[in-house]
Subunit: 191 residues, 2 copies
DNA sequence: CAACTAAAATAACAAGTGTTATAGAAGGAC
DNA sequence: GTCCTTCTATAACACTTGTTATTTTAGTTG
């Protein structure tokens, strides 16, 4: 045949994904990825038709990474909501650029394909909502309403941690989530 | 003296602010502002030292605009929390680019000065927290905790509306906020 | 009207972007 | 070894960004 392939598609995607984690999605440009991967920009356009294709791949990888992160996060809470919240908030804190890409920046004016929050949560590699549906057995009359309220709350805390307006310890966060769950749950049972 | 000033600093700031509202902060570039204002880029750099100064001014104006928006929003709820929530969520829906600029995009890597959420809420033109502190008279033992929980919840709903993951009517939102308030309040009184 | 001065327009620079054309290099086939 | 294919690097194009130098314009002053 011909010359051996030196720069693989994996190496490029790995580099672009690592850059997204460390520097943010906006820094994933052709030249910067090439520099980080130790090559010119040419191998990128050999394996990807254009940058948008690479950006889509990074986005998909970020979504899969989140589901991995969630599935591996230790379940120390009393309720699945608290466990989801702990993982979600920790992800926002530890992987702020990935969180921003997946759950904050809208599809408006973005140059890559996007999914809705629920599409990400119900990806191929895992189903977050399934675990949450265990709350159904608790005899809650409107688990959908409870899920929505808890999800809004969890999302709010996670987004606040991005801007530095939320800075609680894990223990405090756990207590906050448990209290909020019982607050919503009892209010649902009452009304 | 000399030639009459045609393009004033107000005209430039008005244009830049209008562009932020309609197209988003990222589109406030020297050439685009000039085109929208019907002039060249030169008048911009006459009244502003550089673009960062203009961006700072736009940010300040956005913060003031939010306080105006909040103070003028009709108070139809039973609690100040519900009123704050309605205004905040409506602002996120109707002025998504301003909301993004003020409350979502962090100070990380932004080319303009930023304030924290609470600095904006306690600006010169208004004090949101003051109104909320009326909740103190209700005999709540820990109003700070209640405020934090409600604020996280409100912020979560607003951020979700940005990404299209929250789409309730005003009436539904009002009920959601009232229910959440009572849920948190009762839980606080119990525990 | 002529002259001066400040404002605005034009054009340019340097840096950055995605993308592509061209040239070079490396390994297999013969 | 020579050829030939394919991968990589270099360089360039077209565009956008902030910023600045230069030139033109217009209004005031004398």
């Amino acid at each position: 045949m011909a010359r051996k392939e030196m720069i693989t598609i994996d190496r490029i995607l790995d580099t672009a994904f690592a850059m997204t984690r460390e520097e943010g999605f906006a820094n994933v440009t052709a030249r910067k990825v090439a520099a980080k991967a130790g090559c010119s920009t040419q191998p990128i356009f050999r394996v990807y038709k254009n940058m948008e294709e690479l950006w889509d791949a990074v986005y998909e990888r970020a979504a899969a990474y989140f589901l991995d992160y969630y599935s591996l996060y230790p379940r120390t809470g009393k309720t699945p909501f608290a466990n989801l919240g702990m993982a979600y908030i920790a992800f926002a804190r530890e992987e702020r650029h990935l969180f921003e890409l997946l759950f904050v920046s809208g599809d408006q004016g973005s140059k890559h394909k996007t999914k809705s929050m629920y599409e990400i949560l119900n990806g191929d590699a895992g189903n977050v909502v399934y675990e949450i549906n265990l709350a159904r057995v608790a005899g809650c009359p409107d688990p959908g309403d409870l899920f929505m309220k808890m999800w809004i709350f969890i999302h709010g805390a996670a987004c606040m941690s991005l801007t530095g307006d939320y800075d609680l310890t894990d223990l405090q966060t756990m207590q906050l989530l448990e209290h909020s769950y019982y607050a919503f749950y009892n209010e649902t049972m009452r009304g």
